[in-house]
Amino acid sequence: MKNNIYILLIILLSICTACEKDYLNVVPDNVATIDNAFSNRYNAQKFLFTIYSAIPAPGNTYNTALNGGDEIWYPKSEVNRPGVKIAQGFQSVSGPSGNKWTGSHVTAPYVAIRNCNIFLKKIDEVQGLNKYEKTQWVAEVKFLKAYFHFYLLKMYGPVVINDTAIEITEATSDIKSVRNTVEETFTYVIKLMDEAIVDLPLMLQFADEDLGRVTKPIAASIKARVLMTAASPLFNGNSVYASFLDADGNNLFPSTYDETKWEAAATAAKEAIDLCHEAGLKLYQKEDYINPFPQTDVTLLKSALRSRITEKWNSELIWGHTQGTYGIQAESMPRLYGYTTNPVSSRHCPPLRIAEMYYSKNGVPIKEDVNYDYDNRFKTRTSLEADKYHVEKGQKTAILNFDRETRFYSDLAFDRGVWFGNGKDLSDDDPWFIHARRGEFASVFEVSQYSVTGYWPKKLVAMNTQVKTGTSLTTKAYAFPIIRLADLYLYYAEALNEVKGAPDAMVYEYIDLVRERAGLEGVVNSWNAHSSNPTKPTTKEGMRKIIQQERMIEMSFEGDRFWDLRRWKLAKNYMNKPIKGWTVLENGVDEYYTVKTLYSPTFSERDYLWPIPEYEIINHPSLIQNPGW
């Protein structure tokens, strides 16, 4: 009998032991781990694309550079957008708008940098990747790693340089978040970019598949931008940050001005320009705009200028971003006629100061143009036969909207202005006319969907973008520029002007190329003939102002103004002035054309740099917060 007990016990125990070994081991081998990302060429390329996906999309309305400055204003319903908060002066340290310091998504810059490090460490393990391809990929990743550091640098100043991925198992006490100095970061970024430029291809071999990926001209152009940033007043001898020190007492910002930085920038810009030319890039000219139907020169130039960024992958684009542009186009487009649904949200709108910024038809600032009726610019007049390609004939609009350079009409839409495209491009006698006064089609549709200023950035809407049958918007996609040739030309002119004692022909050469493309005379001639200050281009300071205004006009609505004003340390001047627009909720002509103050933003010294989120500082006391925050 006793034996039975033993038998039972033995059975029981054998079940236990038999199961113990494998029963709880439920996970099969070969589950996806990080090693799988480098198991073959295809997965490694996915990892490469993952790194690419972190490039901040320039054409996204959540890009604070588009709407966080004084270039665009929104209806009040949009006050909680990150850019709008920054624009109004409501940046906060507890929940920073447009924050890029923290975040754990693959698109967060620091995550992207870690991914670059992982990629560079693991790429040698990938089987079946030929040497040429590997060299190119490594160069792309090195460039992107530098680009992400640079992106953080222009936002935050000193950043934490991550050259290798810190292991996850490190003890907390060994992991510190310590910021490197601005100087160190610039040096690091340039070193990486130089390494990358050597191995990058001049042109993409399979452009139809690969457009958007980094090439030699792209890297060289961005390097020029980095050096321009390093040479500019915000980062070059900015006395405001003299007492901004790290834990060891080192200056986080360079404390003295160094003119050689402009030289380095000029050299880099010229090198980049040469590389671009070598790769066949050139300014997009009137002749490049293809339209099978006869048009007047006026319309043709206007259409070509309008297409200088919206004609996809055109000859001027150095680096375009491949993210969709539907959102920005829908927000930038006025309602052209009575739609039954609401395909366009029509609220991404430039204020009056941007309309005033563009030159007169003589290519000088309207305030300086001796022939321009500057004092009466807010009054109205009726459009005549001579104006008919820009303003609806027989209709009244502000004098400000008459007699302006072609870029004014290619970049801006306004009440009674002409809108070409949207299906009407057969003849320039039959365009759309924008009617924006209260009760008219382009006027307020909903409290969140109208132009609060009376202007729209036509420049961002492609010629063939169309509201079909009044119900749905079909956009013509384009690659939103990160950098383009005109941008680079103006960098070069700016850097040369700073290097030289007084402007010379070299300084004028590249700015004049941009003006010439816009149908304007060169700087010297234009000022000589039309400006109340004809000697302005002859002095370094005067020329600096001219280059700055040219840059703000040419690069409008692309996010450049936002960064340029910071780089030039001018944001404080611009961003403390009231934002104005027409009184768009009125329907009478005179009432509509009354200047209205929309908002009085504030910008203080601390706003030049982003705040690091407060919780990150609390969690990591070794991290030093930016001044003023």
């Binding site: 006793k2 007990i5 039972l8 016990l9 079940i15 236990c16 199961c19 029963y23 709880l24 081991n25 439920v26 996970v27 996806a32 781990t33 990080i34 997965n43 390329q45 996915k46 694309f49 993952t50 996906s53 009040k76 319903s77 006050v79 909680n80 908060k85 409501f90 507890s94 310091w101 975040g103 754990s104 998504h105 693959v106 620091y110 995550v111 992207a112 940098i113 950043v159 996850i168 992991i175 978040s177 452009a207 598949e209 457009l211 958007g212 992958w313 491949t322 649904t341 609401n342 307020v444 409290v447 119900t471 996609a477 909720l585 209205k596 990150e616 609390i618 969690n619 990591h620 006391p621």
Partner: protein, 1029 residues
């Protein structure tokens, strides 16, 4: 062998002896409420001869005229009755508050109550009867040791939340282990249980009770056993109930005119030049009611919801059997309806209709003298139809719908005479939310089936050595469900006025996108199966009169495999089996029936951890002393009928440290199929991105709880029974996040077993039962649970400068927020106060916060622990029941205390996203003309004001409440009448649930706490009849 023969002999003698008797006595045994008591034993005094009552409490026994019958039943005091010439003897037993010889269920076995050293609470199923088809809603305040509350009343989604002795972890899993007939099941299975089917309902609270469940028992165990058949002829019992249910409280909204006026004010008070949403003309015409088509007002609550709804439930059971086999079979069903309206034009039911059927069959078979087999089947079917969005979202939508833009639908006008669809209202471009259209334009239907089969084989191994038993349990469970959505795209219309003719006609807004046919969309499909195997050897021996020992070893194996729903496809971790195995044991020693000692252990393995962390050992010890049985207490035995002290201490684990898709911490997890990134001329060369979702860590293991329990039981005069336990617990190895800088570029948090927490508290119950005369009785009972926890260790930044930010030393679900002083008087005060840096404008009438650290600005550093934890620290209940002749009345109160909740400012902010205006806000808000700095709602706005949306004391509410949870009045027909009707028992009753509530908070039912805008808890009036044949 010799013993066997003796037994046989005795048995045969008994039969012969019985034949010599001269008389039959019959009767029914009742409990204190007049219900028949099945399974009570009727024994002839001085003999071993006896029978037990059948399911209807009936017995018959052969006796001599001079015999005395002893009637006994566990939980009741014995009663002796003399036969003396009677042929029918009906006896009512009185509950015995301290029947120490009652056998109670403990983990994997049974124990005499006397010998129990662990802390357990057992409630009678009768106490869990409330007018609801969801058992979990009955638990709050009924069971000491359970913190419970209900945050919504939508049929099918009205599970109460409950925690055994509160929560002592800030890791993933804090819910108790649920065992039904010994097998681990889910909360939904507990919900489906019918009180009439329950034999016993227990909660295991301390280490001695739960250590056997090793890696799964740390959060306490809920243990339910279902009824088994009793010997006797077939007996039938039926219960039918109909109930009427309505929300306990509706949120009061402001009238449409006030809505418009304040909506205009909201714009102008922030921007004097702002565009007014409502013209004066519209307001005037709305007041005048000139044309309700053009100037509509809509009470969305009225349009969407009925005043009340009806629910039905029934339960029917059969019970009986003979010497070799006994059965218990029950069928139960319920139909719960939602409170949503259904349009007459509609061809389908969009209201919630939740039908549930349950079939249970327990059969016990005596295979041989020593072998027994139990077969149980439990089959559950649930059919659900309801709105696509779910009832709670419909309630939320009603709060987000403008009351003056359009009607829910319009009557057909001449132009639309032949239109087949409902003409739903809308406005502008037709993109406004019309909750009525959303609600009636579709429905979802689903069906859920769960089948549980269980086989138990018991072998009495006395023939090997006395006291040895062997048991084998096998359980298989299958569950499946599917869900389908069907819907059409509503057509929207807006009225427009022809200015010439003055005729108002309807204009279609979305003729292109609307549809008249139903689309359908296959949602989840799901199949899960689990198996459970248990083998169990137990040994019991009385060594001599004084010493008694027992031992038990249990081996268990658990396996669960579930298919993935459509949304989860590709989730590797969820697709892998869930497994558990363990060896558990219990060794007890009793001396003189007064001193008790116990050692328990669980040795458990879980599939979730790396090999070397996979197994854990969880021991516990317990001691007990029955003081009232000591000789020196003999003199006081009349007064102190029971006095017992007990204590236990031990370890229990918790392997629920991550969710079902976050189980294998020793492996890294990578998503190779992220969003595509495109390159190429036409932006069409896309590759998927790769992201890391978890970093591997081999050292991760389970949480461990060290539990201490000290308890006392006291019985007085055999009428009053008091049980009090003090407990404390230290939880360590809680999986918690490490603090690493973002500049490292990690894609997900890094976790480790670094957290520690502790809790302590008391729970206790008190029962007083007395008979008032011969036909009346009274029972008062109450219970109380207090559990307070705090975090003792976790990784934190250096908070030495701002100690109030530290979570260490604070309750686990403590809320941090700003201290609101009052509202700003004006802009001038704003300018002269510390900057409130939340981003966005604020001015007079917005909330002014206190600068805690005095740095001249209000920031995250100024947040302090505010209020009580969100999970209440106290749950209590008390009730009275009494009866007189056929009548019985009972009522029960339940309350929670020490909890706080916050009104969601985003969801209640009026005007933003067309949100409704709560009347309480309209009655008390800051305005430029009435600058009340203590007004309930700050300055109006048509946009979110970040400053006011911070978690702060301004919107903090006391979550304490006391509610009349239930009341019941019943009448049982008299025996005479029943005899005529040839029935055993008929009882009619009416009951009510959630009848009223006392609380400081008035906007909605305080038990809903922060979920006040969702499907409310229900007040139910219930009529029922209970029949036994």
């Amino acid at each position: 062998m010799r013993k066997l023969i003796t037994c046989l002999l005795i048995f045969m003698l008994g039969v012969i002896h019985a034949q010599a008797q001269d008389k039959m006595v019959k009767g029914t045994i009742f409990d204190e409420t007049g219900s028949p008591l099945p399974g009570a034993s009727v024994v002839v005094k001085g003999t071993s001869k006896g029978v037990s009552t059948d399911f209807d409490g009936l017995y018959s026994i052969k006796v001599k005229e001079t015999d005395i019958l002893i009637i006994s039943f566990t939980g009741y005091s014995n009663k002796e009755v003399a036969v003396k010439g009677k042929n029918t003897l009906n006896v009512t037993l009185k509950p015995d508050v301290n029947s120490l010889d009652e056998v109670v269920l403990v983990s994997f076995g049974k124990q005499k109550k006397r010998a129990m050293v662990s802390s357990m609470t057992t409630v009678k199923p009768a106490e869990l009867k409330i007018a609801s088809s969801n058992l979990t809603t009955a638990l709050a305040g009924k069971v000491s040791g359970l913190i419970a509350y209900q945050r919504g009343g939508e049929p099918g989604r009205d599970n109460a939340e409950f925690f055994v002795r509160g929560v002592t972890t800030f890791g993933y899993g804090s819910s108790p282990l649920i065992l039904i007939d010994g097998v681990e099941l889910e909360v939904s299975d507990l919900r489906r249980l019918h009180p009439d089917d329950i034999e016993a309902f227990s909660i295991m609270k301390d280490a001695a009770a739960t250590a056997l469940y090793g890696a799964r028992g740390a959060n306490g165990v809920i243990y339910v056993t279902t009824k088994e058949g009793t010997e006797g002829p077939v007996s039938v019992s039926a219960r039918i109930e109909t109930s009427f249910s309505a929300p306990t409280q509706d949120i009061e909204l402001a009238d449409p005119i006030t809505y418009m006026r304040m909506g205009n004010e909201a714009v102008r008070t922030r921007d004097p030049l702002g565009l007014l949403p409502y013209s004066l003309e519209k307001i005037d015409n709305t007041i005048a009611g000139t044309n309700p088509m053009l100037y509509p007002t809509t009470d969305w609550h009225k349009e969407l919801f009925k005043d009340y709804t009806t629910n039905k439930r029934f339960n029917f059971s059969l019970n009986g059997g003979g010497k070799t086999a006994r059965y218990y079979v029950s069928v139960a069903g319920s139909q719960d309806n939602g409170i949503l309206k259904v349009p007459q034009l509609s061809s389908f039911n969009n209201n919630i209709d939740f039908k549930s059927y349950n079939l249970r069959s327990n059969t016990n078979i005596n295979l041989t003298e020593t072998s027994k087999l139990k077969l149980s089947f439990n089959v559950n079917f649930e059919d659900y139809t309801g709105p696509r969005q779910g009832g709670s979202d419909i309630y939320k939508m009603a709060m987000r719908s403008n009351p003056v833009y359009f009607k829910p639908y319009y009557e057909k006008d001449t132009e639309n005479e032949f239109t087949n669809h409902i003409l739903f209202g809308n406005y502008g471009d037709g993109n406004y939310l019309n909750p009525y259209a959303q609600m009636v334009s579709g429905y979802k239907e689903g069906s859920n089936t769960k089948v549980i089969a269980q086989l138990e084989f018991t072998e009495n191994l006395d023939y090997l050595t006395e006291g040895l038993d062997f048991k084998l349990v096998f359980n298989a469970t299958k569950e499946s469900f599917y869900r389908v959505d069907r819907f059409y795209q509503p057509y929207y219309y807006t009225p427009r006025l022809n200015k010439e003719s003055g005729v108002v006609s309807l204009k279609a807004l979305n003729e292109e996108t609307g549809t008249e046919y139903l689309n359908f969309y296959q949602k989840d499909r799901y199949i899960a199966s689990s198996t459970y195997l248990e083998s169990n050897i137990s040994y019991n021996k009385e060594i001599d009169d004084a010493n008694e020992i027992s031992g038990q070893l249990v081996f268990t194996l658990n396996n669960r495999l579930a298919s993935l729903t459509i949304e989860e496809s590709g989730n590797l971790e969820k697709s892998l089996p869930y497994r558990n195995m363990g060896l558990a044991g219990r060794f007890t020693y009793a001396n003189s029936q007064k001193y008790f000692a116990e050692f328990n252990f669980g040795y458990n393995g879980s599939e979730r951890f790396a090999k070397k962390e996979r197994w854990g050992f969880f021991p516990s010890v317990g001691l007990g002393w029955l003081a009232s049985d000591e000789n020196f207490m003999k003199s006081t035995k009349k007064v102190i009928s029971n006095l017992k002290f007990k204590a236990s201490y031990g370890l229990v684990g918790n392997d629920q440290i991550g969710g079902p898709d976050d189980r294998f911490f020793y492996l890294s997890k990578v998503d190779l199929k992220g969003a595509k990134y495109y390159t190429g001329e036409n932006f069409d060369n896309g590759l998927r991105t790769i992201s890391i979702q978890r970093y591997a860590n081999e050292q991760i293991t389970w949480e461990t709880a060290k539990k201490l329990n000290i308890g006392m039981e006291l019985g007085l005069f055999n009428e009053l029974d008091l049980e009090v336990d003090y407990f404390s617990e230290q939880r360590s190895n809680i999986l918690a996040g490490r603090i690493l800088p973002y500049s490292m570029g990690l894609q997900t948090g890094v976790r480790a077993n670094i957290g520690e927490a502790e809790s302590h508290g008391v729970d206790g119950s008190l029962v007083y039962t007395t008979n008032l005369g011969s036909e009346a009785w009274l029972q008062v009972r109450g219970n109380y649970t207090y559990a307070k926890n705090k975090i003792t260790k976790m990784e934190e930044p250096d908070y030495s400068a701002t100690p109030w930010l530290s979570r260490i030393g604070q309750p686990i679900d403590q809320t941090w927020g700003f201290v609101a002083e009052r509202l700003f008087v004006d802009q001038n005060e704003v300018n002269n106060s510390p900057e409130q840096a939340f981003g966005g404008e604020y001015s007079g009438g917005d909330i002014k916060y206190k600068d805690i650290n005095g740095d001249g600005r209000i920031s995250a550093l100024d947040r302090v622990p505010i209020g009580n934890p969100r999970i209440p620290e106290i749950t209590y209940g008390f009730g009275v029941s009494s009866g007189y002749k056929g009548f019985d009345v009972s009522c029960f109160f339940q309350g929670n205390a020490n909890s706080s909740f916050w009104i969601n400012t985003r969801e209640t902010a009026p005007f933003i996203n067309e949100q409704q205006l709560i009347k309480a806000y309209a009655d008390d808000y800051w305005s430029e003309t009435n600058r009340n700095v203590y007004a309930m709602w700050p300055r109006l706005s048509d946009n979110y004001v970040n400053n006011n949306n911070q978690t702060s004391t301004w919107f903090m509410q006391d979550g304490a409440f006391l509610r009349m949870k239930s009341a019941e009045i019943g009448y049982t027909l008299s025996d005479k009448l029943l005899a005529k009707m040839k029935m055993e028992k008929v009882r009619f009753y009416a009951s009510g649930t959630n009848l009223f509530v006392i609380s400081k908070f008035k906007l909605w039912d305080p038990e809903l706490a922060g979920k006040g805008l969702e499907y409310p808890n229900q007040r139910v009036i219930n009529l029922g009849v209970n029949i036994s044949l």
